[in-house]
């Protein structure tokens, strides 16, 4: 194999120009970039919809839009963010770009299938766009019977989500087989970077959970087309059955979102605190444990939907158990930081913010897991706050962190550190300003999904809107800063962060075939600040 490769001159994977050369490429790095462009575009569109909603919610009464427009914006914000941005988010972008290099492979197991996954993703995007003429107003959860009776384009949105799910299944299968079969010689399971463990666990969930929601959405489409009351009680159907099917996927899916983010944190923390990761095996297996537990907690979304008391107690208890592997990770990260030489570079700032915000997100999940308390908090802004603390404070922030961390490798350019670090504070402060008031609003009884509210909620809503716009500016300038670096940034060295994982041992940007010769692995990648490294530094 090494012989065939040596015939290629070392050229960057970015060398070939033209849109066609990108769309026809089966190179995992190029496919990763394509996902990056599409998912980040979806993020900006979904973000603008959120800002429009916050503009309307800044004052009581209706100012800019009618309630129907608000419902549509809410649905599109949720659907675009979930199906087009955050689910493919870290898995399809950085999973594609980084995972094969980190295990010492030249590509994923099935490169053509990988390209096909992206084409299917584009098809899903196209189908969702088709429905924008009369966009759905059901919320991203498509609960029947409303989703069966509204005359908006529910069918295109659900079909789009189904097609995107197919793309996500294919990517998941590809990564699982890649990790099992394509590891370089000497790359044992316990020498894998923790990012790989995280993507592996997320892929397992993608493969197991996605078919369930896929066929359920098709059942919903059939219900509308054929007029069968499958989920509509007026015709003998059972709407709670849809909720069971929907959450059997849609609860595990939040772990598809958060596990890769946890993987990125586990990569960044040791590099920027110059210490070996603490509790490698505990972090690795807790990813798998979270993936396993994620399948038996779905009914905590149904505490107020005629769930029996026994089932409620069981699901409440199972939900609490998720806290265990999650807490294991947090304690190990904190132990990694302890007595480290902490460098507050942008990726590290985001990672520390992640730990802080994710603890809040995780702890506010516990009251929601208690049946009694959930009856009060269900469907209020408390849930919105909890969800955004885990998924935005968790996954989105780590997506930004990963962008900064791997940017020099992906593009071969260094970004402007000062601007990035300054904008971090916009993001961090803006984020807390947006969502802390939402916890208080929720406890006070403010229902979610409403376009208007009572005057007593006005001050907190105003603060939340101000926070949202601060956050919006933060994200926008952060991304702009990265884009400017493409032209103006300094050329990046191969290993600007002095990291040990394999992707930093090759050129920035990598060559088309990643490695000149497949490396043989002799140790794990986390020997930071050990005797060997100190010896090298003192020379």
């Amino acid at each position: 194999m090494a012989h065939a490769v040596a015939e290629h001159a070392p050229v960057s994977y970015l060398e070939k120009k033209g849109i066609l050369s990108w769309l026809s490429s089966v190179d995992h790095k190029r496919i990763g970039i394509l996902y990056l462009i599409t998912t980040m575009s979806a993020f900006l569109v979904g973000g603008v919809f959120a800002l429009l909603m916050r503009a309307e919610l800044a004052r009581p009464g209706m100012q800019f839009m009618d309630p129907q427009t608000y419902n549509v914006l809410m649905t599109l914000h949720g659907s675009i963010m979930i199906f087009l941005f955050i689910v493919p988010g870290i898995v399809a972008t950085f999973g594609n770009f980084v995972l094969p290099i980190q295990i010492g492979a030249r590509d994923v197991a099935f490169p053509v299938l990988n390209r096909f996954s992206f084409q299917v993703y584009l098809a899903g995007l196209f189908i969702i766009a088709l429905g924008l003429a009369n966009p759905a107003d059901t919320g991203w959860t498509f609960y029947p019977p409303y989703s069966s009776t509204t005359d908006t384009n529910v069918i295109t949105l659900t079909l789009g989500a189904f097609v995107l799910g197919f793309s996500s299944i294919l990517t998941g299968i590809n990564f699982i087989v890649t990790v099992h079969k394509m590891r370089a010689p000497g790359m044992t399971w316990y020498r894998l970077p923790l990012f790989v463990w995280a993507i592996y666990s997320a892929s397992l969930i993608q493969v197991i959970a996605t078919p369930v929601v896929g066929i359920s959405l098709i059942l919903l489409v059939a219900e509308r087309v054929f007029g069968v009351g499958f989920f509509t009680p007026a015709l003998g159907g059972d709407p709670v059955l849809f909720q069971h099917f929907f959450w059997f996927y849609s609860h595990p899916v939040v772990y598809i979102m958060i596990l890769p983010a946890m993987g990125v944190v586990s990569e960044i923390l040791p590099v920027f605190s110059r210490k070996p990761i603490f509790g490698y095996k505990a972090i690795a297996w807790s990813s798998v444990a979270i993936a396993a537990v994620s399948f038996v907690v779905w009914a905590h979304h149904l505490f107020v939907s005629s769930l029996s008391t026994t089932a409620g107690i069981v699901f409440s208890f199972l939900t609490f158990t998720v806290a265990v592997p999650t807490a294991i990770k947090v304690f190990n990260w904190l132990a990694t930081l302890y007595k480290g030489q902490i460098e507050l570079k942008t990726p590290m700032l985001y990672s520390l913010a992640f730990i802080f915000l994710f603890i809040i997100g995780g702890l506010t999940g516990l009251p929601l897991a208690m049946i009694g308390v959930d009856v009060h908090l269900h469907d209020t802004y408390f849930v919105v706050g909890h969800f955004h603390y885990t998924i935005q404070g968790g996954t989105v922030l780590m997506m930004i962190a990963a962008l900064h961390y791997w940017w020099p490798k992906i593009t071969g350019r260094m970004y402007n550190e000062k601007v990035a670090a300054f904008m971090f504070w916009f993001v961090f402060i803006g984020f807390n300003l947006t969502f802390i008031p939402q916890f208080i609003l929720g406890i006070g009884g403010m229902p979610r999904r409403y376009a208007d509210y009572l005057p007593e909620f006005a001050p907190l809503h105003l603060i939340s809107s101000i926070g949202a716009y601060t956050l919006g500016i933060g994200y926008f300038v952060t991304i702009l800063n990265l884009l400017i670096s493409l032209k103006k940034g300094e050329k990046a060295p191969a290993n600007p962060w002095r990291a040990n994982t394999l992707e930093w041992q090759i050129e920035s940007p990598p060559t088309e075939h990643n490695f000149h010769e497949i490396p043989t692995i002799t140790s794990w990648p986390y020997d930071y600040g050990q005797k060997e490294e100190r010896k090298k530094e003192s020379l």
């Binding site: 065939a4 053509v112 998941g172 079969k181 009351g229 015709l235």
Partner: protein, 255 residues
């Protein structure tokens, strides 16, 4: 790139020319994972079947009575035989018997087509009126009311209230409010058409997949050192067969 690597590239579509043994290994693993997703997809439908069966066992029994066990049994035998021939074709290529492999693949594809032909006759039969016990229609009160107004309900010689009804009424699709004009006579018939429809779609995909394998076989691309597509096509066909083994009793024998 050497000729050998280029040939391997043709086989697995990989840029780096993974050795055929590795491609075989990876394809099998990837395909088993894919089959797992297929099982989960049908698991949802089986769960839904179970839920609605326990809502209304009498309705399910009455509706299932209208299905032809003969047709169902014939299709079961056809699929079982085809599963055997596809397994035999893999054994044939392992021993280098390309001609036998091609014949067996062609036979399997033929079985798939006969299955689909049977389904076509069954489906078109089900779109005509059948006598259905009113109990099976009770879950669609709007439909039952309509039928009574049209004078299509009466008491039969056994003393049961029955209605003449079209199990899958194409004319009702998209006309008026779909929720008051259902296309399916009962939940059972919706499940019947949905389950066998999704399964039939899998048969179509399976036939297409095996035809692609057969074309490659006729071109002489397979030999005992390279038959991954035959193996993968066979795995898919077994799955389609396996799912039918569950559909047959649930839909045809439940009466």
């Amino acid at each position: 790139m050497s000729v050998a690597t280029a040939v391997k590239k043709l086989h697995d579509g990989s840029k780096w020319g993974n050795p055929p043994e590795l491609v075989y290994d990876m394809s099998r693993m990837g395909f088993w994972l894919f089959l797992a997703t297929e099982l989960l997809l049908f698991a949802v439908l089986f769960t839904a079947y179970a839920v609605y069966y326990f809502h209304d066992p009498a309705g399910f029994h009455a509706s299932a009575h209208e299905l032809s066990v003969g047709f169902g049994a014939a299709n079961t035998i056809i699929l079982l035989v085809s599963s055997f021939t596809v397994a035999w074709s893999i054994e044939a290529i392992k021993q280098g018997n390309i001609r036998l492999m091609n014949i067996l693949l062609a036979f399997t594809i033929g079985c798939g087509l006969v299955f689909l032909g049977n389904k076509y006759f069954e489906y078109s039969h089900k779109m005509h009126e059948v006598e259905l016990e009113a109990v099976a229609l009770a879950k669609s009160p709007a439909l039952l009311k309509d039928l009574k107004e049209q004078g299509k309900c009466f008491t039969n010689t056994a003393g049961q209230e029955v209605c003449r009804v079209i199990p899958f009424n194409v004319a009702n699709i998209g006309s008026g409010d779909p929720l008051t004009k259902p296309a399916f006579a009962s939940m059972f018939f919706f499940l019947y058409f949905f389950l066998t429809g999704v399964h039939g779609l899998h048969i179509v995909v399976g036939v297409a997949l095996l035809s692609w394998v057969l074309i490659k076989g006729l071109r002489g691309e397979f030999h005992p050192g390279w038959y991954t597509p035959v193996e993968v096509g066979g795995l898919y066909w077994h799955l389609v067969d396996l799912i039918w083994i569950y559909l047959f009793p649930l839909l045809y024998l439940v009466s």
